[in-house]
């Protein structure tokens, strides 16, 4: 912001551009600016430099809500289900996440729940090999719920610490595919009551406002417990998570910052908000 003397329409328009260009979304940007306009009237916000601070604090307040950590149950295995639309980085994220646990000396089992896409199981097997996790898989085209069933049974008999279930990418608008996901979740609960303990929705940081629909519909279908925001090593800001956290209360738990096995970080709201305004 330039050092203009007062807050006028031009300053607010400049702010609107910054917010929208970071993919915070039109509705949410308007809401933030609306709040700001109220604050300008009632508080001491008379300089443009203070505006940025106000908006940053608003966003930080939303994003800093509780629940950033993975919630692990008292007894093993810790079962995590990973879902999301096509190509967002589910399988890669699972490889990275598995490594966190194997590095800590835990026995990790990966379930190749994508039985549809070409070479999906092979891709997960390579990741399993890289990070030291076993992979349970069936033939391509088989029932994904059967893979999940076998994986949980194997986890119990092998006393695995963690099970991470990969699922096929699917657009949230495809009702039959969302039903398939619900079935996989029911199967898990049947084999080990209370599972999955975490349902992680993977979102691509380059996605625009459609990420909000994705979050809404996946949450309605299977109850999302956390979000993984991938590809933050690109130039997209991923601002839409502000709306997702604000409106749906879904916490962002992890971020993906590259294609390598080490490129996974815990979500840091301060760092994220700073990058939003860079």
């Amino acid at each position: 912001f330039s050092s203009r003397e007062k807050i006028d329409g031009a300053v607010l328009e400049e702010l609107e551009q910054i917010l929208i260009e970071s993919d915070i979304g039109v509705q949410h940007s308007m809401a933030l600016i609306g709040k700001l306009e109220e604050a300008i009237k009632t508080r001491d916000l008379d300089r443009p430099a203070l505006i940025k601070g106000y908006i940053r604090n608003e966003i930080l307040g939303v994003l800093s809500a509780d629940g950033h950590q993975l919630k692990r149950p008292a007894s093993d295995p810790f079962v995590i289900m990973v879902v999301g639309v096509n190509g967002v980085g589910k399988t890669t994220t699972i490889g990275k996440l598995a490594r966190r646990f194997t590095q800590a000396g835990e026995a990790v089992l990966l379930a190749a729940g994508d039985t549809f896409r070409a070479a999906a199981a092979e891709q997960l097997e390579i990741w399993g090999g890289r990070v030291g996790a076993d992979v349970i898989r069936h033939q391509s085209g088989s029932d994904p719920s059967a893979v999940i069933f076998d994986a949980l049974k194997a986890a119990e008999s092998r006393k695995a610490g963690v099970v991470i279930a990969d699922t096929a990418g699917r657009l949230h608008t495809k009702v039959n595919l969302m039903e398939e996901l619900k079935k996989m979740k029911r199967v898990m609960d049947k084999v080990i009551p209370g599972t999955p303990h975490e349902v992680l929705l993977v979102l691509d940081a380059t996605t625009g406002q459609n990420a909000l629909s994705q979050a809404r519909i996946f949450n309605e279908a299977v109850g999302v417990t956390g979000i993984v925001l991938t590809k933050l090593d690109g130039t997209a800001k991923g601002g839409i998570v502000t709306a997702i956290v604000g409106e749906l209360g879904l916490p962002v738990k992890l971020i993906g910052i590259g294609e390598g096995m080490e490129d996974l970080r815990d979500f840091d709201p301060e760092e994220f908000v700073r990058a939003l305004f860079e």
């Binding site: 891709q123 390579i126 391509s140 657009l171 691509d204 996605t207 625009g208 629909s213 997209a236």
Partner: protein, 291 residues
């Protein structure tokens, strides 16, 4: 919907001789909202609105009794014109083989689109060869081989870790064995990864593709402009494939990409199956963006 909003505008504007700047202000605001909600890039929206405004202000409306409807027509015409025509043909080279290189961000749908496109041309009687030049992603080569096996289309791959060498060898094979179309499947990469963008430049320099298709996800947000610009600057793309249009993303990225590159959107992906690649229809995508 935008149509409903415009109907309010029609009521306010009907009966006036010309569309004045004041009349248009509210109407423009509705268009701005619709485009931004469709993920069209902020600056692209601003430029588009200025164009629409220039065209509408003072536009003769006494001949048509419905200035509001005339305004809508201006918006739709401008948008459809911006989206470009149906130039969906892949430019076949005068001397075979025609080489088509796919490029784009990670996960945008390149490998799937290579197979879909090769299938279209096989069904037209051509002899396509698909080339597995992604040496980085786990099982990427395997993925293309499975698709090739399912479609009955040969896949070239090698033990080489150098995508430039792979593409070069594939071209030689195509010439030697009479394949008339070569599809290069490249690894996903960031537009800001200088090394990997340079790798694409080296492939281009070595095999001289006749088509360079930028594959982009229809749900891409504001960054679509930045991404497309970088790919175009470094490669001079010849066309765009917009994928995952079978979802409910409004697809504003299409307008952003088209505006900044001025290259035609040739195909759209409308599903995961091999028969789900269609010719791009600018009017359909335009009305989807407008909501």
């Amino acid at each position: 919907t935008l149509t409903e909003k415009f109907n309010t505008v029609i009521r306010d504007v009907t009966g006036k001789g010309k569309l004045s700047e004041e009349n248009i202000q509210d109407a423009l605001k509705s268009v701005k909202m619709a485009l931004l909600e469709a993920d069209v890039n902020y600056k692209v929206v601003r430029d588009f609105l200025n164009r629409v405004k220039d065209r509408s202000v003072g536009e003769e409306v006494h001949r048509s009794l419905n200035p509001g409807q005339q305004f809508i027509k201006v918006v739709q015409q401008e948008l459809t014109a911006l989206m470009g025509g149906t130039d969906s043909k892949v430019k076949l080279a005068s001397a075979a083989p025609t080489i088509i290189m796919m490029a784009g961000l990670q996960g945008s749908g390149k490998t799937t689109s290579v197979a879909k496109l090769a299938r279209i041309y096989k069904n037209k009687g051509h002899r396509p060869l698909m080339v597995a030049a992604d040496v980085y992603r786990p099982a990427a080569i395997h993925q293309l081989q499975v698709l090739g096996r399912d479609l009955g289309i040969p896949v070239y791959s090698s033990e080489s870790q150098d995508p430039v060498a792979i593409c070069s060898a594939a071209k030689q094979k195509a010439v030697a064995e009479g394949f008339d179309l070569v599809f290069l499947d490249t690894a996903g990469r960031l537009h800001i990864d200088d090394n990997l963008m340079h790798e694409l430049e080296r492939i281009k320099a070595d095999v001289s593709p006749h088509e360079i298709l930028f594959v982009a996800d229809a749900m891409t947000g504001q960054d679509a402009v930045n991404i497309a610009q970088r790919f175009n600057e470094r490669l001079e793309i010849t066309g765009v494939i917009l994928t995952k249009l079978d979802g409910d993303a409004r697809g504003g990225a299409a307008l952003s990409i088209r505006t900044v590159t001025e290259k035609p959107i040739k195909f759209v992906g409308v599903g995961e199956k091999m028969d789900q690649l269609e010719v791009f229809h600018p009017d359909r995508v335009a009305s989807r963006i407008l909501g």
